[in-house]
Symmetry: C2
Subunit: 150 residues, 2 copies
DNA sequence: TTGCTGAACAAGAATCATTCTTATATAGTA
DNA sequence: TACTATATAAGAATGATTCTTGTTCAGCAA
């Protein structure tokens, strides 16, 4: 069920690879497709499992390498984490995260006031800031509920 | 070279432990002291190394357990990371981070405009937000310099 | 002060995520 | 179609963290 938008994204993917001299392999294409059809913040192993149906003998190492590559290129974002396995964000539009420190759940949200934040002077000229975002740390509703119940 | 402020912090540490029914052990005290005298964002192993001088046979497992405990209590903050070893922030005052995605360097900064951010309605009531901060992702000056040189 | 008990600890094994090594396969190009 | 650099699979190796087990000790009570 590849929508027209996905087709366009795939075309864009090919173009980007070509522009950077990267081979367009079936593995990379499959991983890219798995990513753009994700509505969550998958770990490397999640992507591996989703792709394995079509590529039973893909190596998980390939998924690690490819996701790392995609993050460098900007096809995905590496999500800020707290010591667990790396997670990726297929949504590269500006948005923000609530992070449950108990269960690890990530809740996306947009907030115009937060989008208006400007990079401070100190970093504007010496450093290359590619992303500025707000992170909320706390305990999510589900975990709070569990605490009350027990 | 424990300053008066450190002494006060230590007293506070003891009081907090007592209030929570936690034993005040020499190991915990040493780890706490190592933390509050840190000006950086140490990994567990860094703290282990700093404490080892005074406690040659401390187990690194104790450091892992203790730092995890301290983060839960709020003695330190677990720093948002990108897949490497956990890092802790002894500075629990509101501040923000620039993170170099190439070398992992963390630069602290304060910014009154960012401190004024309010938790969005959506999370205000259902979730317990303990921290709200701005994260800048990018490449630091040192890494940019290296890129130019090579 | 001493003895008791649950909490905390040390040591090392085990696990999980990730990267490295090496030999093979293949995408893109001549 | 053949060539070459790039990419891949497989499995070993590494690094970070957690678990297991037996021992020790902090805090409390007698």
């Amino acid at each position: 069920m590849i929508s027209r938008t996905s087709k366009e994204l795939l075309e864009q993917f090919r173009a980007q690879c070509k522009a950077r001299g990267l081979s367009i392999t079936p593995q990379r294409t499959a991983i890219y497709e798995a990513l753009i059809s994700s509505q969550d913040h998958p770990r490397t192993e999640d992507i591996y499992n989703r792709v394995k149906a079509a590529f039973p003998d893909m190596s998980i190492d390939t998924v690690y390498r490819t996701l790392c590559l995609f993050a460098e290129i900007g096809f995905v974002h590496l999500v800020e984490g707290y010591g667990e396995a790396k997670r990726y964000d297929p949504d590269t539009e500006r948005h923000h995260h609530f992070r449950c420190m108990r269960c690890g759940r990530i809740l996306d949200f947009t907030e115009p006031r937060f989008d208006a934040l400007e990079v401070p002077e100190r970093f504007k000229h010496n450093c290359a800031v590619s992303n500025i975002k707000v992170v909320l740390e706390g305990v999510c509703d589900q975990c709070l509920q569990k605490t009350i119940e027990s």
